[in-house]
């Protein structure tokens, strides 16, 4: 193996320490950052994530409350709940856990969250800000992937980047975040004729498709950075990414492992968003109601 392994856990730990310092400063000003997690119906699928988020929140000095609503709740009732949380000054961030039951469209809920409390970065206004190169609250996974790349000794300006997968919450926001940093970005997807043609020209490759083994060493430029965002469970119960790790590690200059790469950083970004959102709300509140102070 020639590639340097990127330690996502260590990056996440450093971020959490910074977040914790910010959270403590906010708490001292009377604004303890607080997240509300909303899940609906059968929680088994999301439980692991929620528990993990809860633990990380505590480690970062962020209050966390998990709420579960019955499967039978209507969309109107849920948007009503969110409207209440939007109006509650003690709540600073709202997380919509997936999966949701079929009758609750996730986009309708994401749109209902106030943009200042959108810690998942899923509101259209949050995505619009990214496109306009004004990053405030960005989608956690995409931001995490880009933050990982930024820890490497690479100049982002002029960097040739290939993003494989054009999902709305990962691939596309990564493309726009990287473009904002001055990279030349190519977005590939299932309709791309020859992915290898594009990936081999790239100094950095992001892959977020959900297909194990999709990227092989032969598709990489020697020395390139490979950020693997895929999380796939194999038949024998292992968790693997979208890259064929062994062959890619022979060719890449840096590579993220799965697990232990993008995953831990994603949760750290959620906490970073929580303190960012809290700070924005505090500033907004002071500007609106305490201008004279």
């Amino acid at each position: 193996m020639t590639a340097t392994l990127i330690d996502g856990k260590a990056i996440a730990a450093r971020m959490r320490a910074d977040v914790r310092a910010d959270a403590e400063a906010l708490a001292a000003a009377g604004w303890v950052p607080k997240l509300i997690s909303i899940s609906v119906g059968d929680v088994a699928a999301a439980e692991l994530y929620v528990r993990n988020q809860h633990r990380q929140a505590e480690a970062a000095g962020v209050a966390f409350e998990s709420r579960n609503y019955p499967e039978t709740i209507s969309l109107e009732q849920l948007t009503g709940v969110i409207a209440g949380l939007n109006a509650d000054p003690r709540v600073n961030g709202i997380i919509i856990q997936r999966p949701l039951p079929g009758h609750i469209p996730v986009k309708a809920l994401q749109k209902a969250v106030h943009p200042l409390k959108d810690v998942e970065g899923m509101h259209p206004a949050s995505i619009g800000n990214i496109v306009y190169n004004d990053l405030t609250l960005g989608p956690c996974t995409a931001v995490a992937a880009v933050e990982i790349l930024k820890t490497l000794p690479l100049k982002m300006e002029g960097l040739d980047v290939c993003v494989i997968g054009h999902s709305e919450i990962v691939g596309k926001p990564i493309a726009f975040l990287m473009m904002g940093l001055g990279a030349t970005v190519t977005v590939c997807h299932h309709m791309t004729r020859q992915v290898a043609l594009h990936s081999r020209a790239a100094d950095a490759v992001f892959v977020a498709v959900g297909k194990p083994g999709l990227v092989t060493g032969a598709m990489l430029k020697p020395g390139a950075a490979l950020i693997d965002i895929g999380i796939n469970r194999t038949a024998d119960g292992r968790v693997v990414g979208d890259a064929d790790f062994d062959s890619c590690a022979q060719v890449a200059g840096w590579i993220t492992p799965v697990p232990g790469g993008v995953g831990p950083v994603t949760v750290a970004i959620l906490m970073k968003n929580a303190v960012l959102a809290t700070r924005m709300q505090m500033d907004h509140y002071r500007a609106a109601f305490a201008a004279a102070v």
Binding site: P124, I127, R193
Partner: protein
Amino acid sequence: MTARVIDGKAFAANVRAQVAAHVARLKEEQGLTPGLAVVLVGEDPASQVYVRNKGTQTVEAGMASFEHKLPADTSEADLLALVARLNADPKVHGILVQLPLPAHLNSELIINTIDPAKDVDGFHISNVGLLGTGQKSMVPCTPLGCLMMLRDHHGKLAGLNAVVVGRSNIVGKPMAQLLLGDSCTVTIAHSRTKDLAEVCRRADILVAAVGRPEMITGDMVKPGATVIDVGINRIERDGKARLVGDVHYESAAAVAGAITPVPGGVGPMTIACLLANTLTACCRANGLPEPEGLTA
């Protein structure tokens, strides 16, 4: 080989005719008249010409045109109040605040105060995000016009390599989103791109939107590619003022499969798409099916 010239004037006339036919149907069947409100602050001569053209073409398409001309020293509060009134007016389906605004007005705040459903320019931050997440939105007029011409020329765009040169908020970025939406493999190149010629030569579809006269030359074009030139640059040559695009037309046309000229290419499509967006906004506001072939 010489490229097929894509006649933007004829194409735009056809779009306007489609819009007019649809508007006539809306009036007859639903008793609805789509309305476009254009707000002009100050007396910028170029903006006055644009606003006049928009008004004329709106009326020609059978729609209602509401022009609001305000003095250059209009306060932000007054302008915001006007936008709020237009948001609430059921006769107004599209609102366009002509940019640039005088320096004392916060353009971002004013654009983001327009109801996103009436934001026919597609500049509201929510529309940008909706487009970015593949949801129904109002799409900026110039890239929408380019997309219509590309679909007309190619039929299906899926799988084609598209390169967009320029990353502006009003053309480059939405253009990239639209091409991704049609399943192109999209590269966005710009001033920081290391080897622009090499990147451009990969393109089956090359969209130039940088605002630099004739910077894309024939040697940067893949033989047979479709070249869309969004640039409009005023230069002086042989002592005469001329309009040229971002593409060096003669050399590119010798290599490309199809090309838009400047003037007479993308330019005329912008107002045609503004009318199309106003019609779309009217249909959506009334729960009617969207006009086919006139949306993203």
